[in-house]
């Protein structure tokens, strides 16, 4: 549906339809006409009137100015057509580094939708919600086992909220020990949420430099460590895709100085059955269920970011906790040392169901195999592309690899151009320009659920783009050309922000 044209009902259209653009979708507001409805309600109009009378004109608005008015078929068509403008992991290879775009088993969505889960109100007496609590307890236990930690809270809504929870626990632990340490060390390769969470938790960020091979050296930490250091917050494998080789030494150094090790578990997909954060010396880990544990990303959430801790931090976990009471599961909020709660109720339960289903489907051995195959895929892509796109580090890759290239100097073709050109080949691009320490970075995370053939096709596309960039840079710079839209102007969007539809147009 192209944007609505004005037609006088009986006459011919004034202007012909522009070039056929059958995939364009009008805004839902533009598809509206007064009086259309997508839902019927028996006696609805009378209800609205009676309600307005009950509440009185003072409390009630006159109208929902500008709100959509469409029929059910129109609404459905609108959103189905919109969906067709998206790439998604289910349809496309989506090697977005740091995002672990693995296959999301479709059964799990069905399981989350079971009436016994979906229609369970959070204030239902716990005696009538034992299945839900049992599932949460089992998931907590599984995550503790997988991460090598002692206790888990499923409450955080996403990774960043898990970070906040973890950092607040560090504060609370410090406070109980009487200290007020103000600093958290974060490597220069860190994800943006790490420093942002530190700020929210009242910490100052001290940046540690990774070495040339892309990892943290213990002596850099030693250099930065002092009595004001509350913790080191580090992702492992880090955002260069590299396993931090000195992590144990670093943990020991931190602990010696009374500081804690916060491990950002966003990259846990490299570690299953390979190395447990708990064994590395981590005091706290958050885990992105929407990455390693396969809950769908949803175009940007909802996810779930459980936070796992060692025994000494257990008292500080968010409330409520699930406890055994009189032979049944119950919630307990009576925990004086807790940092409190981060959101309403207990967590993104629908995501917890999916993650639990995934974990029992994989089993312990299956998870270990997954990590190994994820690592194999990244190493393979890295090796195969090495000639054209050298790795940003000489260290071995884990589940993702960060590559770079010389095209910008040679032909002016940028990493962004490469990314856009990949779209023409039916691949979602890797994460680009991250980590910040690598110029023009391409951060590729293939995941274990992609076949060798897919990786080979991706590799071939990357090679061809490189060669195109040399032979015919304009083709790459003008990409994409096979999607509905060409390159989108993000600069103008920010310069003159239009953030909502308005009636005038």
């Amino acid at each position: 549906m192209t944007e609505a044209k004005k037609l006088t009902p009986a006459g011919a259209p004034k202007t012909p339809i522009a070039s056929p653009d059958s995939a364009a979708v009008a805004l839902i507001f533009e598809e509206s006409a007064p009086g259309r409805r997508g839902i019927d309600l028996r006696g609805g109009a009378a209800s609205a009137e009676r309600a307005a009378a009950i509440l009185g004109a003072d409390l009630c608005r006159d109208d929902l100015e500008g709100f959509p008015e469409v029929s059910e078929p129109q609404a459905l068509r609108h959103f189905l057509r919109l969906s067709q403008l998206n790439f998604g992991q289910a349809m496309q290879f989506y090697p977005l580094g740091s995002c672990t775009m693995k296959y999301n088993p479709v059964l799990n969505d069905e399981m989350a939708a079971l009436p016994g889960f979906a229609t369970l109100h959070p204030l239902t007496p716990t005696a009538m919600a034992q299945g839900a609590l049992e599932l949460m307890v089992r998931l907590e236990a599984a995550l503790a086992e997988i991460s090598g930690m002692d206790a888990v809270s499923l409450q955080p809504a996403a990774g960043a909220q898990g970070e906040l929870a973890g950092l607040l626990m560090i504060r609370a632990w410090e406070a109980r020990r009487g200290g007020v340490r103000r600093k958290v060390i974060i490597p220069d390769t860190a994800h943006g949420t790490n420093p942002a969470s530190c700020a929210l938790a009242g910490f100052e960020v001290v940046v540690a430099k990774s070495n040339r091979r892309g990892y943290l050296e213990a002596r850099e930490i030693q250099r930065l460590l002092n009595d004001d250091t509350a913790a080191l917050m580090v992702t492992n494998p880090n955002t260069m895709g590299i396993f931090e080789p000195e992590i144990e030494e670093i943990a020991a150094a931190l602990h010696t100085r009374g500081a804690l090790l916060y491990l950002d578990g966003a990259n846990l997909n490299a570690l299953l059955g390979v190395a447990k954060p708990g064994d590395m010396g981590a005091d706290i880990v958050h885990i992105n269920l929407h990455k390693t544990f396969s809950t769908p990303h949803g175009g940007g959430g909802p996810g779930a970011g459980p936070v796992a801790v060692k025994r000494h931090l257990e008292p500080f976990l968010p409330t409520p906790r699930i406890v055994r009471r009189d032979g049944a599961w119950d919630f307990n909020s009576d925990r004086p040392d807790s940092i409190g709660r981060l959101r309403s109720f207990y967590g993104n339960f629908g995501m917890l169901v999916r993650a639990y289903a995934y974990i029992i489907a994989m089993g312990g051995d299956g998870l270990a195999e997954a990590s190994r195959l994820a690592i194999l895929g990244a190493a393979y892509v890295r090796k195969r592309l090495a000639e054209r796109y050298p790795s940003a580090s000489a260290a071995p890759a884990m589940h993702e690899c960060v590559l770079t290239h010389d095209l910008e100097q040679r032909t002016g073709v940028t990493t962004l151009d490469i990314a856009k050109r990949l779209l023409d080949f039916g691949f979602h691009p890797p994460t680009i320009y991250f980590p910040l320490v690598v110029p023009g970075a391409l951060m590729i995370e293939p995941t274990e659920t992609e076949s060798r053939e897919t990786l080979d096709r991706f590799i071939a596309a990357m090679e061809q783009i490189y060669d195109e960039a040399i032979a015919d840079p304009a083709t790459v710079k003008r990409a994409p050309r096979t999607l509905r839209l060409g390159r989108i102007d993000e600069v103008t969007a920010a310069r003159r922000p239009i953030l909502r539809w308005e009636k005038s147009g």
């Binding site: 309600l41 609205a48 693995k102 009436p115 839900a132 086992e145 059955g273 959101r343 060409g486 993000e490």
Partner: protein, 449 residues
């Protein structure tokens, strides 16, 4: 394993390309001590049928709303979800995409978010809304933080005690590490169930950062938001309105129209099942002038290389991935698919439908109260309410337990969270409650009195 496409030949060929013999050679650089202890002691993997059987069994151990008559609310509301909403959010193109960093491959998500932002501004009567927050409680906390960015010299956040306990607790947690804040709880007017305006007046002053008010509040009462906003403004502070039952905004005056500077809330009512408390979706709207202080993602309209309308993430310089420790929030992954559900829901409900449904909720809740009063029960608060109200009862715990035995989840004992309201039962009535449900409610509550 069915999720893993790698055959032995594939693995061998890939290893050969890498010049190594075994998969474990690829992790040989991981310290041996760690590898030695890394085995995951969980049961072996299961077939799909086995997984389904286990989950179905767990779900069966819950007594879900479908099997009971329920009047539970308290921040999460039971509403009918049209099948089209499920059909839309089930689309793999929406569900299995990431945050729309590559707009050319994400026009579905970005346009839907743009529509969501527009709908939220229409509902709240404010000019800009973001792409979503985790939930209402964290959105409320982020609103206070945002207020502080707008008025950095002020410290006192006056939070109504009639805000949901979870929301107050979340705000407390979010501010706990930031020394610059002072949280003050504004007492409840014992008669109306609204925020005590007299007490609020006393808190107002030149250190006041913001007021935080439920609209409707935790007792279902419709707060005098206009008066509160006026008080806040007189003190030079911002008024934050928090809505957990956004259906109310289909009928009540928009918070922005009443003077709220920031309107946040929980969108679960708009097309999401209650699913034991999450995921729902937070929303946050504010004045256009303050957009650069907003947390979270924003989608803007722009053009493609051929001049065609397009949508993309914008104003990202506020965000953690650019601004890092100076970002307006640490939020990254938000609740995009839930925002899509809300967008689909609101599109279906539309201008008339939403108002009518809101009206139906008001009607039914007032009918229920009238029946309970006729049966001799007493209303706890006099304030006007939307679809949730409070009654007084000698022994809420006992009567609610007895009702549950009979398959009626008659409400929530306010004493759990408000010791001073130990006699209060909070009852939410929605369009899912039939006339016979109301009778059973009456019978269990009044009968057992």
């Amino acid at each position: 394993m069915r999720f893993l496409p790698h055959t032995e030949t594939d693995v061998a060929a890939m290893l050969a390309a890498l010049g190594v013999a075994h998969l474990d050679d690829l992790i040989a650089h991981v310290p041996a001590g760690l590898r030695a202890r890394a085995a995951i002691r969980l049961e072996a993997g299961r077939t799909e049928a086995e997984v389904a059987a286990e989950l179905i069994a767990l779900a069966g151990q819950n007594r879900a709303a479908g099997e009971c008559v329920s009047f539970l609310g308290g921040g999460y509301y039971r509403h009918y979800v049209p099948a089209a909403v499920r059909a839309i959010t089930a689309r793999a193109e929406f569900a299995t995409s990431y945050t729309p960093y590559q707009p050319e491959a994400s026009q579905g998500t970005t346009q839907a978010i743009f529509e969501f932002q527009t709908l939220i501004t229409q509902l709240t009567g404010l000019e800009v809304a973001n792409a979503s927050m985790y939930d209402g409680a964290s959105a409320a906390a982020e609103a206070v933080l945002m207020a502080h960015r707008v008025l950095p010299k002020r410290a006192v956040a006056a939070v109504s005690r009639a805000l949901w306990p979870d929301y107050r607790a979340t705000i407390r947690t979010y501010l706990s590490a930031l020394g610059e804040f002072e949280l003050v709880e504004v007492p409840i007017d014992a008669a109306t169930g609204a925020t005590d305006l007299g007490a609020l007046e006393r808190i107002c002053g030149d250190r006041l950062l913001c007021t935080v008010t439920g609209y409707p509040n935790a007792f279902g009462v419709i707060e005098p938001l206009g008066q509160i906003a006026a008080m806040a403004h007189r003190a030079g502070a911002l008024a934050i309105a928090v809505t957990a039952e956004p259906l109310a905004l289909g009928l009540l005056k928009a918070p922005g129209a009443l003077g709220a500077d920031i309107a946040v809330g929980e969108g679960q009512s708009f097309g999401m099942p209650v699913q034991f408390g999450g995921p729902g979706v937070g929303f946050l709207a504010a004045h256009a002038a303050q957009v650069r202080q907003m947390p979270g993602r924003l989608v803007g309209q722009t053009r493609d290389s051929a001049g065609r309308r397009a949508f993309c993430l914008t104003l990202a310089t506020r965000e953690q991935h650019i601004r890092r420790e100076r970002a307006t929030s640490n939020i990254c992954t938000n609740h995009s698919l839930c925002a899509l559900a809300a967008t689909a829901y609101l599109s279906l409900m539309g201008r008339c439908g939403l108002r009518e449904l809101a009206g139906r909720n008001v009607e039914l809740a007032h009918d229920a109260l009238a029946m309970l009063e006729a049966a001799g029960l007493r209303r706890r608060f006099s304030g006007a309410f939307f679809n949730e109200f409070t009654i007084a009862h000698d022994d809420p715990a006992r009567v609610l337990a007895a009702a549950a035995e009979h398959g009626v989840l008659a409400g929530w004992a306010l004493g759990h969270d408000y010791p001073e309201l130990g006699d209060g039962i909070l009852i939410a009535v929605t369009e899912l409650n039939s006339a016979s449900d109301l009778e059973r409610l009456c019978a269990t509550l009044a009968g057992a009195r």
